[in-house]
Symmetry: D4
Subunit: 255 residues, 8 copies
């Protein structure tokens, strides 16, 4: 971008075609497509490594279907999160090949059967069965990015031996998602036992002074173990995305 | 109290002396002594098992000395908390036999060398060295109540094996105080491993989203392990008192 | 755990059987059973004195029934809390001998008629009739642990004489649960009158600046009376468990 | 105000002098005096029954002295609150007859010795000795308004019998100020025992989850006893003013 | 209470009858009646000037009816607040003479037509029409206590002249209730214009950063006008009670 | 107002008619009309440039219709916000010429077809499609005030090039409304690129630590770009009003 | 930006010089200058109408001086805020012509005597003398932008007539800054009386439940008067900037 | 750990030496060393890839020196954070070879000159010069872990072109730390432009409604760009550690 003048001089001198110059300039300032009620960010995959993800909450089934169809024309995979079952039915009827995942309440579509591209894997660990929807949203998101996912569920610290039995599996992961509600203590315990980066996702499981997940959020932000970072409450998507990104980058460069 | 009329009729009938009647009535409504700027609650020990404790913050050294002297006339032991070193010097000069404990910042005085009266003990567990002042306030308070105290310090969950090595000692206690700052996860881990009641005391150790100990407080209130109750942030005194009370009651009745 | 080497040397020398060695090592790291969607912590009773309790919120009736059946195979008593009446009907139909308690919204099952094992008792005190569900959850939990419970209800401080009439009953308890909403002042008043440990449980009764029970929670954490510790808002189970634990330990050692 | 037209017509018709008309119009829109850095509200006493009170925090001694001198020209009494001792010395040197009250940190000046004008009195009740500065600010404010004040100090609920001994004195008051920190439970207890209006003032005494007085504030706002209203944390002035107003109005009309 | 001994000696000496002695002792410790699920505080009227008020939220219609019937046997007036229309129908069917007030959602019952006993009145002022339910709860409560009420509604500061037109009526009141939501600025404006005590009641009218009434609550607690005290959000009952108490006391003593 | 005396003297001297004098005095204290449940502020348009706007939440359809009819008698335009579709149907049936706008949930009525009076325009910018209802409320409000509105929607910073494409349009506006939820970062980015005043309106779009829009509100209040001010969460009306006012004033004076 | 291809084609065709093309492309992506510890945004004035302002807090005097000197080479005016007196002395010694303003704690430098460029003015209104530093920061900022400022100070609502006397002056302003602490009610009162846009700036004046200005902030965000927007607590600079921007734009286009 | 029995049987059978068995068992339960006031976790590097880091706040210089000396006996590198300059002087005098870094306030010691081990690098990006201490703590931490660090400072969104110029450098990093205060918008803007994982660290730079960094924290947790996770306020160490871990793992496996 700093050498705009230089590029233009090359064009003027005929040393660079206008087409090539446009391409290089556009690589910094990518285009978009105007769908009326939304501006699809169609080359986000080129920019960030993954297509725009549809956040289903607050959108009608019709809007979601329209966006999905547009995206299917430009991308090989589409992920829509926070889809309730009524919207899921409408989407399934409209878009052949789409799949609804009821626990994480998400819809996926793939042009070709997804291939597991990476040799590494991520671990998704959760404290209790009530944390499953968030954990599964994380797992599904990472799988959409091409990661293999190992699930380690219901290993909360009230019975800490359950965690220890699975430590080797957790330790082998390139990135670890820890989903926990209540006091979220599982994060710090895992953090003290592994050498892989941990993405902690607080869930809103709890009541009273839990404050809809704020207690777990604060707990995780104050973890006494290093190597831990945190995403928003119930944001399984964000945690899975971050973990998938780390695993994808590690594998991409390895390959 | 409900039979005031009955008591009075007995007195009227001469079946009960006025002195005895007064005693029975007063057993519900105990007296006090007016020291001007304070109303000493001199028979609190009879009512609750321990004399009134002097909270030193916001009182002058002179006030503390005056209260201590009054209490020494009625009790065999005196405990004053939150005493800075300047006040401690003044108290030491004025009251012979008083002892200052710099880490918990407390002053004690005993008429006779304190005798360890109970056969059981309490465990005071803390996560890091920064939690020591709070842990020591808990330990000293319990010792003033006649409890033996076992200290298990610096066993935070970032290196959880440190805790496991000391589990048998912790498990043998009649009551367990757990002091921790940051995310306070130690409480839940201990809670899942023992059968004794735990009194958790959050400390204000941490920064940022720790919110001066609120993160640890909320974490402890939301512990996924049962058998845990919580006192105010940095309230080592309260935790030690509660633990001492449990141990004292268990031992008293055993004897 | 520290003497792993020593144990192993004994085994190697033939002075300790592998079976015995395994038992001693396992005493620190107990097993579990994998039920797919949950990892039951079957020897929690050995570790903490009471079997795992089923938190019904966010679980389907089917899940609860399955967990109960598994637990009934390993334990003599099962407690499930936060069960609404629809789930309760399904459970009653599926599990013979289970009993639903509508006020505390809990299900219990006992292999044999529960025997009151302890000679002491706990007192459950509440401020108003709206606090009954929480108070009853505390009482039922303690009863499941074998405690006798004395209920002292609707004795809030707006008519403080109601409390005084029942003081002797409260004073005789090994542990006292105080459930109160609004400003929770009852806790401090009781705390100044008794020598037994108090577990305070704030309820979410109130409105406006009550902040769903936060006002009572903060009030109880700041109690000017010592000998008070606090559990989460509306956590009758936690309060009853803590009180039951204290009473059980006192009685166990007495026996 | 609604009859501006009518007043003007009377003036036009000569039935009302311009001077009288101006007086009546001005009775609604009172004047002021511009002192440069401040606009003194000199007829506030006529409007609200008491002259403007000087809030000393954030003002220099020079500014306070200048304002006091202006006010002394128009009023018979001046009250300045939140004055530290350094400013107090400067004021004492500059304004003869002014008196500094160190506990409530306030300065008063009276043209004539203050006469106790009212036959009733207010009671200022506080929970602990640390609440004294706030309680004394309330008492002094009410005294400046002509009220007799009965002080009932250090009667917190941890030793509730201390309160009961003084109940008759409290009950006789036209209005009651209750100052308390920590959990502020004293307010509700007094509220259940008297028939006079209570003005509760939370103090910032406490630590940790006290949140600089917020715990006591919330507690008082949620009092289960009716007849209680609340002022800002540490606002002894506001509580004393409100109580003094009630007592003054009752006495004025009685006279 | 301090002279228990003296009273008893008088009884013993025959100088005081047991009956009289009981009466004097009981004056401090009043009785109650146990209705099973509630402990009615039947002599609260003697103690505080008004019978216990029934808070309808969280109680069944049956419980409310039962309590009302018991109270009707001991009191001449009964007030029940927070009653929805379904419960109101049940109460109307069961209790002849009860009246439902839909705006404040309250039920009243009087043995005899209520007589306006006091010569003074209170003013209930509100900012907008959305504040009416709270304002009416305040007005009705004060009327139940025998106060005449002047209503000054919809005079919020966005059109401040509406307030000025009614100032004389407001100024004449013995006590003023100001109900306002949003930013609650009306309180401070009225406070600067009158010499009567103001009880401010924040309402939960607003959205977003209003935080369900917290914005108005904080605003009122920080009023720059003295002579203002505050009750809980939406607590019209509390504000009306406080105002009614002031007016009742002023009138009682005047008579 | 300061020259009341002077005005009156002029009247007395016959130099000013009573009518003229009344007019000048009334210019400060405008009248109103009492509709029973509401005090319509009918000359608000003269005072502030726009008639009172009806806030529909918490009002019945009947009340809204009645207020609209009264206002239609005095004003050429009426705006009612926060109207759900059920109320909208009732209003449409009762008031001919009224128009319901479903996205911003508002009703408008104009005596004559609204004329676009101003030569400038405002820009309403929003981050995502979920912010549309708030953005449209802002746009509609400004249009009611006579402003032309340019809409720039779905240009959130996750795909920042979408914003850049529309910068010239945004830069040309007299005032800019930026509506955004989640972290609200769009405000600061726009703020660094334009020379027109920005009114930021946080929306409640988000979840978890978004805290119903508080995250975006705080973000906008702390914008590192100057020239930004903020209105309440979801307050599209307030933002549109402020922007419309700026544009109206600029255009009025230009004409 | 969308027509990069078009621009390049023009260049290629020789219809646009490379220099001109660069200029047009750069108009969207302006340059900067790297000073090591800071990246000065030197063409911010071209982009937003005012040069970058130096926020003095957290910068050393040396850093401030260096930045000022660089800016003086590119701009005709420099404003630095939040400068304490020690730093001010160092700046005065180093930079000839710089002026320190002690009340708003700001430094200004102008190449030529500032000319008042605009025919309109802004009004800065504040509630009390303690709000002066914030009000003066607003006034000085606007003056630096070329606005004439009318100051209306100490007109808080406790004596609301003080405000009314100055209404005509306030009403004549193109934009109004209202600075107030405590409950910030002044904003809403002014908002109901004028037709100019108001920028409200809460100050941190107050104590207790004021929460360092949060009470005033929330109050202003919830103002019942439209035409009000809000900046951060104590952000006089932001308020003055916003007001100056409105006035500057109005005047610029008028000229 | 699950095969304890198997291991023991092997030992018993002589197929495994006791030493080897101990080693394998200890690999799960690592040892420690008791230094009295602290339990050093000496094999944390083996477990998590980096030695325990000394948090200097709340520790005396003597304690820090003693811990450093112990650690130097077991590790090749030592990092101590939150060291003020007074403690730094004492450490420098006691420990030869230690280096103090004043901006991040940290001390490092290396047995051998640190070798840059990894071929990738991390980028540390910050919004303003006030964020430097936090950014430098992140950079230094990552460097201690063997990462090369590229610093991109003072590129806040108020002048967003400063960021664009450095995008290629940022995009090339294996992990990106973004440090920002105020509204923290930089995180989301970067997040929309890169394909590497971002660790966001809010700083406490700001005032008023910034709430000591909470505004930036909430903003970052709610980022509309995926691939972002967050650490505690001012926790540069945590952000640098997480980024260093990702880079180290990527490089380790590449090698």
């Amino acid at each position: 971008m700093m050498d705009i003048g230089h590029i233009l001089k090359l064009v003027q001198a005929g040393d660079l075609s206008a087409e090539e110059a446009e391409l290089r300039l556009k690589s910094i300032m990518p285009g978009e497509e105007d769908l009326g009620f939304a501006q699809l960010d169609l080359n986000r995959e080129q920019r960030t490594g993954f297509p725009e993800v549809i956040f289903g909450e607050g959108k009608t089934a019709e809007q979601i279907i329209l966006i999905m169809q547009k995206m299917m024309a430009h991308n090989d995979r589409v992920l829509a999160t926070r889809i309730d079952s009524a919207k899921a039915d409408a989407i399934a009827a409209a878009i052949s090949g789409s799949v609804y995942h009821p626990t994480p309440r998400a819809v996926t579509w793939f042009r070709n059967p997804p291939l597991e591209k990476h040799d590494g894997y991520i671990a998704v660990v959760c404290a209790g069965t009530s944390d499953l929807p968030v954990a599964e949203e994380a797992a599904l998101t990472a799988e959409c990015m091409g990661s293999r996912v190992e699930r380690v569920y219901d290993v909360g610290v009230a019975g800490i031996h359950r965690l220890f039995r699975r430590l080797p599996l957790i330790r082998g992961a390139n990135a670890i998602v820890v989903a926990a509600g209540m006091e979220g203590a599982l994060t710090s315990v895992v953090g003290g036992l592994v050498a892989s980066p941990i993405i902690a996702v607080p869930t809103s499981i709890g009541y009273g002074a839990n404050l809809q997940g704020l207690a777990a959020l604060l707990s995780m932000l104050n973890s006494c173990s290093p190597g831990v970072s945190v995403v928003n409450i119930d944001n399984g998507f964000g945690a899975g995305y971050m973990a998938g990104l780390i695993n994808q980058n590690m594998s991409k460069r390895l390959g």
